[in-house]
Amino acid sequence: MLTILFDGVAYGMLLFVLACGLSVTLGLMNFVNLAHGAFAMAGGYVTVVLLNRYNVPFLLALPVAFVATAALGLVLERTLYVRLYGRSHLDQVLFSIGLVFMAVAAVDYAFGSQQQFVRMPSFLQGRVEIAGVGVGIYRSFIILICGVLVIALQLALSRTRFGSQLRAAVDDQRVARGLGIEVNRIFAATFAVGSGLAGLGGALGAEILGLDPTFPLKFMIYFLIVVTVGGTSSITGPFLASLMLGIADVAGKYYVPAFGAFVIYTFMITVLIFRPQGLFARAR
């Protein structure tokens, strides 16, 4: 029971790291980016290649995955995404679906359609018993890293100058522009960091979530659930939503394997009907 809760928390934390970038881009520029999972996949594959082909240590591969994906995000944002900010949601959806299709096919071409396995270093493998509860070492490692990231993000948003500019831009973009905040530059930076975090999440999650070319399609709905249930106006909303989703998904798969998926989708639709702005957001 507690093991399930523990696994659920680890899973939820992972989902948060994967999805928080999406929640910021959606909140800031009102941009529906269905291709967010493609960045996560990119991070995952960078790690796999570094680990299995070049024998880079796992702990070093993680920051590399973050930087590589962030760079990819920045390039795509400056060249392609930036042209679509003012466009209709339909255009944005079509564009990002196109990107997903391309990413899926390209990865399939380069690496084949099979599952990729990450060779974990030995000190992250295995389980230990703490007070009768079986705790996976790797999952504790994930909780640790993601916990640090959550705190760091929260501090960056609430304490730094960049964070307050970002919050101002999310709250009211036009006024923020009027006050001389360079919303475009903030958005580029945020997009890069969000993509980087997704890449890091993909790298961390390759072991737990699995990694194959259909990753962006498989997890798209999870990211969207986190964002819509959590709302886009803060970081705590998506965080709580991720934890709930993670625990519900793990518990659902364990106790009622046949109905696990229904629980999540039904929950999402119900939330959307009664609170279209998200569970934890104020209505605007």
């Binding site: 529906v32 959806v93 079509l94 679906i97 299709f101 990413a103 899926v104 229904f262």
Partner: protein, 338 residues
Amino acid sequence: MRDRAEALILRRARWRPAEYVFWLLAFAALVLFPDRHLILNEIAILALFAVSLDLILGYAGLVSLGHAAFFGFGAYAAGLLAKHAVAEPVIGLVAAGAGAALLGFATSFLVLRGTDLTRLMVTLGVALILGEIANQAAWLTGGADGLQGVAMDPIIGVFEFDLFGRTAYAYSLVTLFLLFVAARRLVNSPLGLSLTAIRDNPLRAAAVGVPVNPRLVAVYTVSAAYAGIAGALLAQTTQFVSLDVLDFHRSADVLLVLVIGGAGYLYGGIVGAVLFRLVQDLLAGLTPQYWHFWIGLILVVLVLMGRERMTSGVAALARAGVDRLRPGAGRATKELRP
């Protein structure tokens, strides 16, 4: 004033020569391309599916990322009906359409609320739930193996399905034509005009007395029925249903079809279906496993270029083609068109 408005609406609804030519060609394909009936059948089904999406997207402005829900529902309904009860296709078609309409009616209330994003998620969610049901209820649907053992009787007891898809194409084309004519009447009726008003500005539409929500529910239900019939056609003509009919790819592909052909004038779905299948065939011939890469690239380029420009380009091409067909009209058209 009333007379003028009426005349305007009637003129909009009048059949143009190009349309006669278009449908004559579609029916002539029965004789002209005897060895292409299988792919033509697929095109007709895809076209019907796209027309159904056009009704809600092009006319009512509702975005959907899960239109495959109704397509798949219709396919399974027709397949199961043929397997367990009645194997006559037309009855199956009507039943599948009615079932999908019920489903559309029930889920239409979910898309009334919220923004585009909420709609995208809700429609996607509904399609995913249906896909999951079809996957889990393997005792009924065959799960991942697909629904096998569907055998159809001859259509209305006379026309037997053949191996080369000749009957199948004729059947799908007649269905497409009849439903298209109905849809054409619908969008040119006051109901259809009120839908475009809602699409352009829901607030103003409500202010001039259009009952916004009931109209959206109505068109969503009709569109679901169309999609269900398209799915039923696929199930009946291929005599097989797999989980693929509810897949996300299908919802995305039909969006692409409509985007290629252009939304909001009904023919877009058909033109798009033809182009889409031709492109798909070409790409699948070049790189069999990875053709979705090129589809993705087309989507990205289309959006970056601007969808409207592409659509108006196709429309202009079509007009030019028709003008050339009309005897002696080649010179005068430039001055006639405003």
